[in-house]
């Protein structure tokens, strides 16, 4: 296996609110290889964004508490870093692209200032010099330099996301976290932005954690995929492995609920039920209440990730029975 840039082990993050303890992440383990892109897939509320924030140690506290585990970035544990080290790491080694470009930009600062800030902070140069660099960054993401003096509200959604990307890439980080970078954009714009990101990542030899719920995006951009449910990874492997030999019932459910353009007329099969209340997670496998294959055993213990060959891992009790096949695979 190639060298890892990010290794998360047994991460547990809870939000201790007045209403109770929200168990957002419950023993999450994943890793991203150097110059690789990992897609993190899951429903809304699965804990994807929290995972991303944990990597930057930015889980809002209070109420968020990182209860345990480790997050190693290039071999250094983020959770053990001092404030100084964290500030140095953020933006410089790891950058993040946020979901909604409409709110991710500070409305009262010009985009140039916002890009330049990152450069100024990490390269200790004057604001003026940083601003010049910011203009270059804008050009790189395909925006005219002259628009550096404009404010975010003067840009369209796609343009703003380009600005956000420019901010993220300003200091040439070697790891990029993209939290649903295209969700808030029009479909036509989505492709442009994705292409841009892909291009820049390849050019700069960066690694990326791409958070999305769009399996199409994953197929297009990612080398590996991790499927997340209720704060845990349920299936992880190379894109090829996960797409072609899906192992987890939840992953199957995700694929089934996608419209398939090739086979018109096929009915969509939604996953029944809802995500469990993160304050009252069910005992055992958290997916069990919704799982068509669930057995008595599923409600007893939490399934561990087990190797299914290659880099493919799955967390499901069903594979205790070696003959078990998902319906999807049985048919295909």
């Amino acid at each position: 296996m190639s060298e890892k840039i990010l290794e998360i082990k047994d991460l547990v993050v809870h939000f201790e609110t007045d209403d109770g303890c929200v168990k957002a992440i419950n023993g999450l383990t994943l890793s991203v290889g150097k110059e690789k892109t990992l897609g993190l897939v899951g429903e809304t509320g699965a804990g994807k964004t929290t995972t991303a924030l944990s990597i930057l140690n930015l889980v809002p506290s209070p109420p968020g508490v990182i209860k345990g585990g480790s997050i190693e970035l290039d071999g250094k544990d983020v959770l053990q870093m001092s404030d100084k080290e964290l500030e140095h790491m953020r933006g410089n080694d790891v950058a993040m692209i946020f979901q909604d470009p409409m709110t991710a930009l500070n409305p009262v600062l010009t985009v140039g200032e916002q890009i330049a800030e990152s450069i100024m902070l990490h390269e200790h140069i004057s604001m003026k010099d940083a601003f010049e660099r910011a203009k270059e960054m804008l050009k790189m993401v395909g925006i005219a330099e002259s628009r550096a003096y404009d404010y975010p509200h003067q840009f369209s959604g796609g343009m703003r996301q380009r600005v956000v990307i420019a901010i993220a890439l300003a200091c040439q980080p070697n790891f990029l976290i993209a939290d649903e970078p295209t969700t808030a954009l029009d479909v036509t714009i989505q492709a442009q932005v994705l292409d841009l990101m892909k291009e820049l990542i390849e050019k700069n030899h960066m690694s990326m954690l791409l958070i999305t719920h769009d399996l199409g995006v994953v197929a297009e951009v990612c080398n590996d995929v991790a499927v997340m449910y209720a704060g845990r990874i349920v299936e992880i492997g190379s894109t090829e492995e996960v797409f072609n030999s899906t192992r987890h019932p939840y992953t199957e459910g995700l694929f089934d609920s996608l419209p398939n353009l090739k086979e018109q007329g096929e009915e969509l099969v939604p996953i029944k039920g809802m995500m469990p209340d993160p304050m009252r997670l069910p005992e055992g496998c958290t997916f069990a209440p919704r799982c068509p294959y669930a057995t008595e055993a599923c409600t007893q213990t939490v399934p561990e990730l087990r190797k299914m060959g290659g880099t493919h891992f799955v967390a499901c009790h069903a594979y205790d029975d070696p003959s078990f096949r998902l319906r999807r695979n049985a048919n295909g």
């Binding site: 924030l53 930057l56 979901q99 709110t103 930009l105 901010i167």
Partner: protein, 311 residues
């Protein structure tokens, strides 16, 4: 922008017209007989009649109002019944004093409130939050005049640190400004707190943190710059509160400002002075509101864009 300012100035005209109309007639009703005020009590009926005719008081009220408005346009707002001085001139003499007091009170209030508001916001729902808010509410919980007297007794009489009365130097401004400022602190702290609470949950704050900006920088550069918009709005909206506070402090500390002028004129029923001062106050406040709006535009590029679009 200039067109916007002009438009706003034009909008002031109906406001001023209506104000003058209301105040003029109100004072005519409440003001009593000016002739009796100007002349000594033992003046003859003939003298009274002569003066009444001379002042045009026998004309219908509408005519008197028209005459007043004609004067107003040329800057002639009549003369005080009590001192015989020109109303506009007297007001303009007092205006700098009130602006100085109101301005320094605002500065005092901001110095106390903005950090306090941020502090309470960052510690929301903890005992630090409650204590901070109680502290901020201290000034607004007691009448201004009372607070002023207390401060005076402590700082001027007991410790003899500051002068108790008058307006002869910067040090004379301290106690009145503190009195008014403490009264405003609650409002500004509250606004700062809720603006900060709002702002710290915004995505761009996370963006800033993810860039590697320090906690201080995130709060004071990114956060405060955004929070300033509602804070400035609140101050602008409540400028009448500043004037009210100043007016009372002016009485307590013998500060020769507009508030005291108005109260004393009302007390002496100096009708032209009261009418004039209130109309001028109205104009002043309209201008202040305009300035606040412009500052607001300065702080929030989105608003600025709106203005330039409109005109």
């Amino acid at each position: 922008m200039i067109r916007y300012v002009l438009k706003r100035l034009l909008f002031m005209i109906p406001t001023i017209l209506l104000t003058s109309l209301i105040i003029f007639f109100a004072m005519k009703i409440a003001g009593g007989d000016p002739v009796k005020q100007i002349l000594p009590e033992n003046a003859t009926v003939e003298q009274q009649e002569n003066l009444r005719e001379e002042m045009g008081l026998n004309d219908p009220l509408v005519v008197q109002y028209a005459r007043y408005m004609a004067g107003l346009i040329t800057g002639d707002m009549g003369e005080s019944y009590v001192t015989g001085k020109d109303v506009l001139q007297t007001f303009m003499e007092r205006l700098p004093m009130t602006l100085a007091l109101g301005g320094s009170a605002l500065i005092v209030a901001c110095i106390i409130s903005v950090p306090l508001g941020i502090y309470t916001a960052l510690n929301q729902n903890t005992w630090k939050d409650t204590t901070g808010m109680v502290f901020a509410l201290f000034g607004v919980s007691m009448p201004n005049f009372w607070l002023g007297l207390m401060l005076m007794l402590l700082f001027a009489v007991k410790w003899k640190l500051l002068p108790s009365q008058g307006a002869e130097g910067p040090e004379y401004l301290v106690l009145p400004a503190l009195t008014v400022g403490l009264g405003l602190a609650a409002l500004i702290t509250r606004t700062t707190r809720s603006a900060m609470l709002d702002v710290i949950r915004q995505d761009y704050m996370t963006t800033a943190k993810a860039k590697g900006a320090s906690h201080r920088r995130v709060i004071y550069y990114h956060g405060l710059k955004n929070a300033m918009i509602p804070i400035v709005t609140a101050i602008g909206m409540q400028f009448s509160l500043v004037m009210t506070g100043s007016a009372l402090a002016e009485v307590v500390f013998s500060w020769p400002g507009i508030g005291r002028l108005v109260f004393e004129s009302i007390d002496k029923r100096d009708e032209p002075m009261v009418t004039g001062a209130i109309i001028l106050c109205c104009i002043l406040m309209s201008i202040i509101n305009l300035v606040v709006d412009l500052i607001y535009a300065f702080l929030d590029p989105r608003i600025k864009a709106q203005y330039s679009n409109k005109g």
